[in-house]
Amino acid sequence: MCGDPRSLLAWAAAALLACAACDRPCVRDSDCAPGSACHLGACLATVDEGDDAAVDPDGALEPEGDAAVDAPDDAPDAAIPDALLDAGVDAPADAQAVDAAPDAEATPPWAPSDEPLTDEVTTWRPSLPPPLQP
């Protein structure tokens, strides 16, 4: 009797029906509705980490956006002393321009020249004082 396939099928069908009728715990996250995940056999609501209006640990809703992250583009100006601003010194276009590594091929105008030094000064250059008149 125990080896009768019909009795095995009947047992399997009964188990399936009983399980379908019982409380439905979860085994996988996809067993749960969207927005919840399976934790210890129960579906618990989850919070999307990418949501700006996420609930913080205190239970209060944060304002949409974060002032520390979403600062306006002119924020670097605030770090420039007023004296420099008055003198016309402007802030870089963005913070990345400050942090970016200097271009190895770009030579600043104050960099020393690779030309060999000579005693003869034949022409006046703006970086040198004008030649003395005898």
Partner: protein
């Protein structure tokens, strides 16, 4: 004459009346129970309804071994798609034993090992096969951290010989 009819009937019933096919295409539907959990707890519920379309091809003779592969869809209260692949030993008398891997790739991921006992009987042209499958799912985004899931599925398949 009567003995010839009986012998022919027994041969058809046991699937030995025809030469072994080079391969077969198969459609399958399966459903069953799923159990899962981690340390200190367990949960039991019905599994997703599994639909599979695939095929197998003989890769070794004596013993007769087929490689199988196919597409797998989980449905009923979700929709996930993936695949399965492995090896199938043709044990004779309509019995096949399969072992391989099964994975769902979209929109969530879950993967693990799979083993099945398959009993086939020819019904005219195609074979009708009963599958008893056990899946041990051990990884993927769909599994809670530190958990594993076990599926026990009962399935029915139609298998069409490829010669």
């Amino acid at each position: 004459m009567r003995w010839r009819i009986v012998a022919l009937a027994l041969g058809v019933a046991s699937g030995t009346a025809r030469a072994d096919a080079l391969g077969a295409a198969e459609v399958r539907v399966a459903y069953g129970l799923a159990s899962g959990g981690g340390a200190g707890h367990a949960a039991l519920r019905t599994s997703p309804l599994v639909l599979a379309v695939g095929g197998n091809l003989a890769v070794h003779d004596q013993p007769r071994v087929h490689a199988y592969a196919g597409l797998v869809v989980e449905t009923l209260d979700r929709t996930g798609a993936g695949g399965e692949a492995g090896a199938m030993l043709v044990a004779g008398q309509g019995l096949r034993v399969r072992a391989g891997i099964v994975a769902i790739a979209e929109p969530y991921t879950i993967w693990g090992g799979s083993a099945a006992a398959v009993m086939c009987r020819r019904a005219g042209g195609p074979e009708v096969c009963g599958h008893l499958t056990g899946n041990v799912l051990v990884g993927g985004t769909d599994l809670p951290a530190g958990n594993a899931a076990l599926q026990l599925l009962v399935g029915v398949a139609m298998s069409f010989d490829v010669r």
